[in-house]
């Protein structure tokens, strides 16, 4: 990988962290409503995996889907950050025109197929995208990001089985942050190593450090090559940690400060920036410059755009429920 790309990836992770921090502030200012689930701490997973996928190329992209902690996945796949932020603000210019909010970011133009609030629901949807890609004969794959908590849903087992028997081109990325909302994995799950669970479906799987983006990228590249070459589904488990609570309404009473401090020592941005500095690719001053640029972009472009964008019109309340321009041949009215 070129030095320029390494620097770009680090800058992206810093951007994602500051983007999420700024949504936190906007939430506290009550500019953002509903539930807000932040990705802080897990950046190396989405950034590293999607770096090795086809993203940012419109309809040629791989299909990407995830749960409700979806801002970073959407942006890395190709969604405009200002449209993601405007969606959190509930504005008409938002990526889902203000109808979805934080948990339901969509960008169909980039094959970002959504954020979903029902834990485990994206498993079958992702297998469906993969079935579509296979049927159409494209070499696209589907990539499904979900947490360890999702693996206790029936959809996990049902979908792993069907993905395997139908040899679907789908990569399941398990972001194992060890907590299902506020319940620690030992208390909710009989088998702690999640990659072992798909042995029951004879699926290729592996487990890696999800805090070190170099490790993530190496593992993702192999897994994506496997899936794209038609060998079937793959289950990639990445060990990670979310620094903030499950959502904004979570006081994290279920874990210790010591545990949090241990994980923060292995912060993905810290690990990677130290590595690049040590390799002489960049210096601290450059990071400071980026941080200033990023803050400026977030404040003067992304937030400004979101603040100034119009609200959806109340007269459009009933749009998008069903096809708004249906073909009368199929829909009617009935000729009497």
């Amino acid at each position: 990988m070129k030095d320029a790309d390494k620097k770009r990836i680090l800058r992206e992770m810093i951007f994602y962290r500051r983007f999420e921090d700024r949504t936190f502030e906007a939430y506290m200012e009550r500019k953002i409503g509903g539930f807000l689930h932040l990705y802080t701490g897990q950046e190396a997973v989405a950034t590293g995996v999607l770096e090795k996928a086809v993203v940012g190329q419109g309809d040629k992209n791989d299909y990407v889907v995830t749960g409700y902690r979806d801002h970073v996945h959407a942006i890395k796949t190709g969604a405009e950050p200002r449209e993601v932020m405007a969606e959190l603000y509930g504005k008409e210019t938002g990526s889902s025109k203000g109808r979805g909010g934080s948990m339901h970011i969509f960008d169909a133009s980039q094959n970002f197929m959504g954020g979903y609030a029902l834990v485990g629901q994206p498993f079958p949807l992702a297998a469906g995208f993969a079935m579509g890609a296979k049927h159409k004969g494209t070499d696209q794959i589907a990539i499904c990001f979900l947490g360890d908590g999702a693996n206790n849903q029936g959809t996990f087992h049902e979908t792993m089985n069907m993905a395997k028997i139908w040899n679907l081109p789908v990569l399941f990325v398990c972001e194992n942050n060890q907590y299902a909302i506020g319940t620690r994995i030992e208390r909710s799950t009989a088998v702690l190593d999640q990659y072992k669970r798909v042995c029951a479906y004879d699926m290729e799987a592996s487990q890696h450090d999800g805090m070190d983006i170099d490790i993530v990228m190496e593992a993702a590249e192999k897994a994506i090559d496997f899936v794209r070459s038609g060998k079937g589904p793959y289950f990639l488990e990445l060990m990670t940690y979310r620094y903030r609570g499950h959502s904004m309404s979570d006081a994290k009473g279920y874990r210790t400060k010591e545990e949090e401090a241990e994980w923060e020592k292995r912060d993905p941005i810290k690990i990677y920036s130290e590595r690049l500095i040590k390799a002489g690719i960049l210096d601290k001053a450059e990071i400071k410059t980026w941080e200033k640029e990023i803050d400026d972009e977030i404040e003067n472009d992304i937030i400004k755009f979101s603040e100034e964008s119009p609200e959806p019109k109340v007269e459009d309340l009933n749009k998008y429920v069903l096809d708004d321009n249906p073909d009368p041949r199929w829909i009617g009215p009935l000729q009497k």
Binding site: S96, P124, A130, N161, L322
Partner: protein, 326 residues
């Protein structure tokens, strides 16, 4: 014209649409090699192969979800769920996903799936194979719900459902698969919206959907023998509902019976009466009558089962009650 059974009409619609468009596939339990529990997909496996006629494991929620995902990237899956009772397992992907994705994405994505499933009682199938549930689907925003009463609609509405861009639930009925009717040899379509007067009358309106239309038609015959002219309205589509046709028939006859195989609380009849109240209350000359199933899990015992489910006699007596004759 050819006399065609309900299941044959469905099979023909599948076959024609699959021949026309490679993106049309069908999925479900035992629909391929076994040909389908109701034969509605018979012969398709041999003709189109296992990639397009997909025998699924018994995993209703996730195979429905896979169909939904495939539909979001351009495919047209027709999903068969063997009994509407089993569709309860697929409610997460149907109601939380298919019905909401167009809206949640601000119109960027659509889920053009067709879900076919028989809802209704047959012969002593007991509580877990006799659910009707039409009322549950008709209360869900973002779905279309249709109830073909015979082969003509079974064929024409399935063709339309496959081509429509919305998720469509087609509620069939175990007792209708062998029902026969002449249908044209040439291709035709029947729209997914609009109720239909299937028997003209002037004295009372009998409103039904799905199998209960046949109960209404039988009751109308008996009423005719009594010198009472009953109009039978088949709702055809439960969502969206054709309010205009309901208003028209009530304004014509001024008396109304709603026949539903579902239980009554919060049911189809309750909704129809609300529509009447809102749109044409002053056209009524008597209280609307609901003929419906007993509010119990459907019993196994034949006599109890018969007592739980409305029949043509109940509709006939409902009409006499509405007309003040009993």
């Amino acid at each position: 014209m050819a006399e065609t059974a309900y299941w044959e009409a469905i099979q023909r619609a599948h076959d024609e649409e699959m021949a026309r468009d490679k993106m049309v596939i069908c999925m479900g339990e035992d629909i391929g090699v076994a040909g389908g529990t109701y034969k509605a997909t018979s012969g398709l496996f041999d003709k189109y192969g296992e990639e397009r006629v997909i025998d699924t494991p018994i995993s209703e929620n996730s195979y429905t979800g896979i169909g939904i995902g495939a539909s979001m990237v351009g495919m047209r899956p027709v999903i068969e769920i063997m009994s509407i009772n089993f569709a309860l397992l697929a409610l997460d992907t149907l109601i939380n996903a298919a019905a909401k994705i167009r809206y949640m994405s601000g119109g960027q994505l659509q889920c053009p799936i067709v879900l076919r499933t028989p809802g209704g009682t047959a012969h002593q199938l007991a509580a877990q194979h006799s659910a009707r549930l039409a009322r549950m689907f008709m209360s869900t925003s973002g779905l279309r719900v249709v109830t073909p009463r015979g082969p003509l609609d079974a064929y024409g509405m399935l063709k339309s459902a496959i081509r429509s861009n919305d998720p469509v639930i087609i509620i069939e009925h175990e007792q209708m698969y062998n029902l026969r009717e002449d249908i044209p040899d040439e291709e035709f379509f029947r729209p997914l919206e609009g109720a239909e007067v299937v028997h003209e009358g002037t004295d009372i309106s009998l409103i039904g959907y799905n199998f209960s239309v046949h109960l209404c038609l039988e009751a109308a015959k008996r009423l005719e023998a009594d010198g009472i002219s009953a109009e039978v309205l088949d709702l055809r589509a439960l969502k969206p509902l054709d309010r205009e046709s309901i208003r028209k028939t009530v304004e014509k006859t001024h008396h109304v019976v709603i026949a539903e195989e579902d239980e009554a609380p919060v049911g189809v009849g309750a909704e129809i009466i609300s529509v009447i109240n809102e749109d044409c209350f002053y056209a009524l000359d008597s209280q609307p009558v609901r003929v419906h199933a007993a509010d119990v899990p459907v019993p196994y015992n034949h006599t109890l089962e018969k007592a739980a489910i409305p029949n043509a006699d109940d509709v006939y007596h409902g009409a006499l009650k509405a007309l003040g004759k009993i």
